[in-house]
């Protein structure tokens, strides 16, 4: 991460950064408490810049009607935390992995692999089942995403099978964000609910919601980000 990332707090609070850099800075915020405090403090000032204006009277009824027909998100119960290496859980994973491999015919289970040179013989299921695999999960709105890192296999796998369905005509896209640059690793679409890649030397993994087929650069907030080094 570039050393001057701290000075981005002002631009971040003003929403004056490109999406990829926003993703990188948010990942930085997750691990920098003083940066979070600064961002929170600057926000109190930024939100006062625009003068208030009376909205059209008709807006109130529209807003209320929209809320009446919209479900609220469930509260977040769990945060990103390593799963304890429980024996029972592990064996269940193995069973699930075996089932998935049998169903999908091994290599076909691997999501579209954007790195041409990456061997395709290791599946997400194999990474999750690997003896040295470290697994983390994060609760999302109505589901979860799980990530496994196996240093023996030199693979990181993202399991999106339990993620909530993306909006119509949208898909989840997995990115590697490094120094403000986002590289697409995979579009998790249709049957491809998981992704496998080599463990990156540096950078942050992030998942965003993108139009079907994926985007060149992230266009939305990441719903999930993770530094593989923390796993």
């Amino acid at each position: 991460m570039s050393p001057d990332i701290h000075t981005l707090s002002g631009a971040y609070v003003l929403d004056a950064i490109e999406p990829a850099e926003r993703v990188a800075f948010q990942a930085h915020l997750a691990e920098c408490e003083s940066c979070r405090e600064e961002v929170d403090a600057l926000r109190t000032a930024a939100v006062e810049i625009a003068p208030p204006m009376t909205p059209p009277a008709a807006l109130r009824a529209k807003v209320l009607a929209a809320a009446e027909r919209t479900a609220q998100l469930p509260p977040v119960v769990t945060r990103l935390e390593p799963e304890l290496p429980q024996r029972r859980r592990f064996s269940r994973l193995l069973v699930a992995a075996a089932a998935v491999v049998a169903f999908a015919g091994g290599g076909a289970f691997v999501a579209d692999q954007l790195r041409d040179d990456a061997p395709t013989t290791i599946t997400a299921a194999q990474v999750f089942a690997s003896a040295d695999a470290r697994v983390v999960s994060k609760a999302l709105d109505g589901g979860q995403v799980r990530v496994a890192v196996s240093r023996q296999l030199d693979r990181i796998a993202v399991d999106g099978a339990d993620m909530p369905a993306p909006p119509p005509d949208h898909a989840y896209q997995l990115w590697l964000v490094e120094d403000g640059q986002a590289t697409s690793l995979s579009v998790m679409e249709g049957d491809a609910t998981s992704a496998v890649d080599e463990i990156p030397d540096a950078g942050i993994l992030a998942v965003t919601v993108e139009p079907s087929g994926g985007s060149d650069q992230p266009t939305t907030e990441p719903i999930f980000s993770l530094d593989p080094a923390d796993v």
Binding site: G10, L42, P51, M53, A66
Partner: protein, 196 residues
């Protein structure tokens, strides 16, 4: 003389704060949601109008923001700031996204042209809570010219710091720093004003 009805709800005497209302909204309280709208909609619409400009589009943005508030009320983290700051942060993000996604480069040039004639003052129809606005204005004037310009170009025009740097013909690190320093100064000034 007729006495005031005794059975009035106590909460009506003292308007609930945005934070109290948002907590009730997180439990699905539509009445609280309506009150929260009453409390925050001028500020939300103000942000949307100043950034998006087109009244119809600004109204859509404000509606999207309030739907976000409704859906995500359960996720509000009070340790990170007030309900008002949370809502207005979403409002600005939404407004900037709307401008960036809808905008052709020609429209952007037009907006740069418009900006020349603009001041910190709101449009005539703005409802200005006089004291508060005065202190914001006074504090904005306490910024150096380049701080003020950097902050305003980003906040009102939805420009990235790279675009601001290009427009002002300054190096990127300078603009990043001016934005940060400008906001720090604005915050310190507003805070000092609140305490006095």
């Amino acid at each position: 003389m007729a006495a005031e009805p005794r059975l009035r709800l106590v909460t009506h005497d003292q308007p609930a704060s945005a934070d109290e209302l948002l907590e009730r909204v997180s439990r699905g309280d539509l009445t609280a949601y309506d009150s929260l709208y009453g409390l925050l909609s001028p500020a939300v619409y103000g942000v949307a109008r100043r950034v998006v400009r087109d009244p119809a589009r600004a109204e859509e943005v404000a509606q999207e923001v309030f739907l976000d508030v409704w859906r995500q009320a359960t996720r509000f983290d009070r340790s990170r700031g007030t309900a008002r700051t949370w809502v207005l942060t979403m409002a600005h993000r939404r407004a900037v996204d709307a401008v960036r996604s809808s905008e052709s480069s020609r429209a952007r040039e037009t907006r740069v042209g418009l900006m020349e004639t603009e001041t910190v003052d709101g449009p005539e129809s703005a409802v200005i809570e006089a004291d508060e606005r005065r202190s914001v204005q006074r504090c904005l004037q306490a910024l150096t010219p380049i701080q003020l310009e950097s902050v305003q170009l980003a906040y009102f025009q939805g420009y990235t710091y790279a675009e601001v740097a290009s427009l002002l013909d300054r190096p990127l690190p300078t603009i990043k720093t001016r934005m940060r320093d400008g906001l720090i100064r604005l915050r310190d000034c507003l805070e000092a004003g609140n305490e006095s």
